[in-house]
């Protein structure tokens, strides 16, 4: 028998192994491609970084150099002197230490009271059933219409020991007590009054977005109002409260006009006024720079702490999903709460406003008794004369131009930086954020000096024009702009933009047609915020203005320094009017936007 065997199956012959061709060309292409990709990814960020460098870092470098040298790094000064640490010695002098101490006292005091006042008002407005809710909300934010310098001027008129309106009134009704606004108490009072709105705004959102389920749970388990507040509500709000407190501290410590107007007659010198004196009165610019560095470092430390707390906020404060938070019934305390708001409004808005009105419109400039305020007649003459001055009109125009340009430029930069940080994979994103937030730690008056030196040396002829004022204003307000745009950008999910890009839109088109329109409210509110901040800017441009680029805030400060209080008061009134118009516009646009989003609401 024949066994049929299959021929052994042979493995198919292995395909000829040809060595992979040395990928010379593709390798270079991919290297270049990678490099180009990196450039595309980082290019825009690098451009942005360069802009921010010239805006923020370069001026700071000049200040740092000045602090460590014996002579000033102004353009044309070929020799910088020698390196020295002596300048920092001024912090150890009696004056330096006293200024430091005063700054701390004023800073901590006003941070505390601004926090208490602002948070209390925010809670009353957001969570209680106190009557006149709309008024309470207005009272909480209205003082923002008063730039700190106007508030200081008004309180100087109200609270001077001999002739302040309050004291005239007290004398009239026979009370032997005098309120002296040129004191620690006065400084803390005025700073608290005008920084409370920041706290109000920060905590109002936090309170009104709180999920009341937790509070209801506490109530269901038997907690009384006080206990619930202490163990549930307050802890939830701590990130917002802490952030607000630190912000107020930083603002109070860096403040210049209030300290200059109210502190000086009382002999209270704080670090910013000391810096100003060393720049202007008794010129030792290197020492001033040293103090500025020390102040900046201290503030930077505190701000870094705030950033840590605020960043944690994203995880602890609950968002507005779920039911509207329940209104806490106050019962007998209802009118007390509203009364508190009324008191605050009187102190922060009504009384200062009338002080300005009396000073600019009263028949005679100098009064000796309270009744004189009313008996000498009223006249529009001085007000009209003030408004008719060419420098007043020019300053008003300059203020508006400055505000508008700074708003547009600042918002654009903030949007770009925020976009790079949160919507691209750029590795420069975090650095851009840090540089954008850096000015928060630098006293505005210091940044202004740095910008003077830095930008004079650059071959760009912006010095002496309003452009450099815009630059300084944008630089100083970069943190607020960035924060405002970012919070809006973070709320927006990137899915929508990504969908647009997946469907073929280029990045710019996606931004233009999807992201920006969705962020419209945020962008507009940033624009308006910057507009208001730009109108009020004073400390940063103190060294940069010329007589034709003066703005209202500078004009007011100059008039005050010249002793023309009634002119300063007249300017303040118009100033407040302009800001009020803007604020109302903001509110109306906000209402329109809300209607736009919820047509049925």
């Amino acid at each position: 028998m024949t066994v049929l065997t299959r021929p052994p199956v042979q493995d198919p012959p292995a395909p000829p192994v040809t060595p992979a061709p040395a990928p010379e060309k593709p390798r270079t292409r991919s290297h270049t491609r990678i490099a180009l990709q990196k450039l595309r990814r980082e290019g825009f960020a690098m451009v942005l970084g360069t802009i921010l460098f010239f805006l923020v870092i370069l001026p700071l470098l000049y200040i740092v150099v000045a602090a460590f040298m014996t002579s000033v790094p102004r353009p044309g000064n070929t020799e910088l002197g020698r390196f020295t640490l002596e300048n920092f010695g001024i912090l150890a002098t009696e004056q330096g230490l006293q200024s430091l101490l005063n700054s701390l006292i004023v800073g901590v005091g006003s941070a505390f009271f601004a926090l208490v006042i602002g948070a209390a008002l925010a809670f009353i407005a957001a969570r209680t059933d106190a009557p006149w809710q709309k008024f309470i909300y207005t009272a909480g934010i209205a003082p923002m219409f008063f730039p700190a310098i106007v508030g200081a001027l008004a309180w100087s008129i109200l609270g001077s020991p001999s002739s302040g309106h309050i004291n005239l009134f007290l004398r009239e009704i026979g009370i032997p007590w005098t309120f002296n606004v040129n004191s620690y108490v006065g400084l803390i009072l005025v700073l608290s009054l005008y920084y409370a709105p920041y706290t109000f705004m920060l905590t109002y959102n936090s309170f009104s977005m709180m999920n009341s389920e937790l509070e209801e749970a506490a109530a269901v388990h038997g907690a009384g109002l006080g206990r619930m507040f202490r163990t549930v509500t307050l802890p939830l709000a701590i990130p917002a409260l802490a952030g607000a407190a630190i912000l107020n501290f930083v603002l109070a410590v860096e403040n210049f006009p209030v300290n200059a107007i109210l502190g000086n007659p009382g002999g209270i010198e704080t670090l910013p006024t000391y810096i100003y004196r060393l720049m202007v009165g008794d010129p030792q610019p290197n020492r001033a720079a040293a103090i500025a560095i020390a102040l900046t470092l201290a503030v930077a430390l505190v701000t870094w702490g705030q950033q840590r707390i605020v960043n944690r906020k994203r995880f602890t404060t609950l968002t507005g999903k779920g039911a509207r938070p329940k209104r806490v019934p106050l019962r007998r305390m209802r009118w007390v709460a509203t009364g508190f708001a009324i008191c605050y409004f009187l102190l922060a808005v009504a009384m200062p406003f009338f002080a300005l009105v009396f000073t600019s419109m009263s028949g005679s400039v100098y009064v000796t008794t309270f009744t004189d305020l009313f008996s000498r007649g009223f006249t529009f003459d001085r007000l009209a004369e003030a408004i008719g001055q060419t420098d007043f009109q020019q300053s008003t125009l300059n203020s508006i131009i400055l505000g508008v340009l700074a708003a547009i430029l600042g918002t654009a930069l903030a949007f770009a930086a925020s976009y790079v940080r949160f919507r691209t994979k750029s590795r420069l994103g975090e650095s851009l954020e840090q540089v954008s937030m850096a000015p928060l730690a630098v006293p505005q008056i210091v940044l202004g000096m740095g910008i003077l030196w830095a930008w004079l040396a650059l071959p760009v002829s912006v010095y002496g024009t309003i452009i450099i004022l815009v630059i300084a204003t944008v630089a100083v307000n970069m943190p607020q702009a960035y924060r405002s745009v970012s919070s809006s950008m973070l709320q927006l999910d990137s899915d929508l933009e990504n969908s647009a890009r997946m469907l073929g839109a280029g990045r710019f088109r996606a931004i233009r047609n999807v992201t920006a329109p969705l962020m419209r409210t945020g962008i507009i509110s940033t624009l308006l915020l910057l507009l208001m901040l730009g109108l009020r800017e004073m400390s940063a441009i103190l060294f940069l203005y010329t007589s034709n680029t003066r703005v209202l805030s500078i004009l007011m400060f100059n008039s005050f320094e010249n002793g023309s209080i009634s002119y300063a008061a007249a300017i303040s009134l118009v100033f407040v009017l302009i800001i009020a118009v803007l604020a109302i516009a903001t509110q109306l646009i906000g209402i329109r936007e809300r209607k736009h989003k919820n047509p049925t609401a």
């Binding site: 100098y366 008719g388 004079l456 010095y463 002793g563 302009i578």
Partner: protein
């Protein structure tokens, strides 16, 4: 509907502000300068018989706008500039700032090659001398003070422009005329404790002059004694005067021109004193910027400033001029003593450098600064 209403409301409000600005009266000419000058422009510029500029210079200057950087009191500078423009037809753009801030600006701008000023007015001999050393000023002898070399400083780099008087004043509602202080030494009376106002003794020409005067003519321990009365030290003269007028202070050091304006314009309840030891004068200097854009206008301005007409404008504002042959200023209806009388003490420019720092140290030691 709401939007439109809102927009209309905002627009209306802005219009209101705008119209307020528009319907306000034109910048009221300061009534302080009362007389008119006799101007003739036939053969060069001749004002009140004095030749300010020759034909060629004046023709060139007429088409220019002068840029002035000044440390002189703003209100006074405005009045002076207006008189200049009224008399010569040449417009003036000016930047006014405190001497030290102005110096920082000038030095920075000059260093960057971008100084737009044609003329600089400043106090503080040290500051002016520094400008000369940095090459900012060029030597220029104003035609109108030909031969009066004592008005030229540093070999003609700059000239004296005006002399500002420092004295003291009291609040008439708190101090009777009968008991009013009449000498610098009277200020050391304990009845004025906590009610005295001064400015910082380390800043500016007025402090340098006052410090020297006090050391030389009154009492070397004056500041220590005054410090014991706890005076309020103001950052600026304007604030100090306002505090005096409002009654926060009983007495304060004061400038004659500023008091003059406050009393005549606003009925401020303050009264000036010509002290027994004398009025203290410190100088403002005027210099021509080297290679400036509007050189002819600068020449006309400086000549005008030192002409009899220009100097009389300064006197009418309330400050002393630099020239002794001009009438002294009138403050609140009373003429002040003549420039060369012994009731007037003028700070020597060079002495500022010699004694300035030491005197400032004495002041600082007395007030714990």
């Amino acid at each position: 509907m709401k939007i439109r209403k809102g927009a209309m409301a905002s627009a209306t409000a802005l219009l209101l502000v705008g119209s307020l600005a528009a319907c306000g009266s034109d910048e009221t000419p300061n009534s302080v300068v009362t007389d008119e000058a006799e101007v003739s422009a036939e053969e060069g510029l001749v004002i009140d018989g004095e030749t300010i500029a020759d034909q060629e210079t004046y023709e060139a200057a007429k088409g220019q706008t002068l840029t002035l950087y000044t440390g002189y009191q703003e209100a006074n500078q405005k009045v002076f500039n207006e008189a200049f423009t009224a008399d010569t037809g040449i417009k003036v753009d000016f930047v006014r700032d405190v001497t030290n801030k102005l110096s920082e600006r000038i030095l920075s701008e000059h260093g960057a090659g971008r100084l737009p000023a044609d003329v600089i007015i400043t106090s503080d001999y040290k500051v002016a001398s520094n400008y000369k050393d940095e090459g900012i000023l060029e030597t220029y002898t104003p035609a109108t003070i030909e031969g009066q070399d004592d008005l030229l400083i540093d070999d003609g780099a700059f000239a004296k422009f005006a002399n500002v008087a420092v004295t003291f004043a009291y609040n008439t509602q708190q101090v009777d005329e009968a008991n009013a202080p009449t000498s610098w030494k009277d200020l050391l009376d304990s009845e004025y404790a906590d009610k005295i106002g001064i400015t910082s003794g380390t800043a500016g020409g007025s402090s340098i002059a006052l410090n020297r005067f006090i050391q030389e003519e009154v009492d070397p321990d004056y500041w220590t004694k005054l410090a014991a009365l706890n005076p309020t030290i103001y950052d600026s003269g304007g604030q100090r005067q306002e505090a005096l007028a409002r009654g926060e202070l009983a007495v304060a050091t004061a400038g004659t021109a500023a008091v003059n304006v406050a009393v005549t314009k606003d009925n401020a309840p303050i009264a000036l004193v010509v002290p027994d030891e004398g009025l203290v004068l410190f100088s403002f200097f005027i210099g021509k910027v080297a290679e400036s854009a509007n050189s002819e206008a600068a020449q006309v301005f400086i000549n005008y400033a030192l002409s009899k007409r220009g100097q009389s404008v300064i006197a009418q504002v309330g400050d002393y001029g630099a020239r002794p042959d001009v009438e002294p200023p009138v403050a609140v209806g009373e003429p002040l003593p003549a420039l060369d009388s012994d009731q007037v003490w003028v700070m020597e420019p060079e002495a500022e450098v010699e004694y300035g720092p030491a005197d400032a140290d004495v002041w600082k030691a007395a007030f714990g600064r």
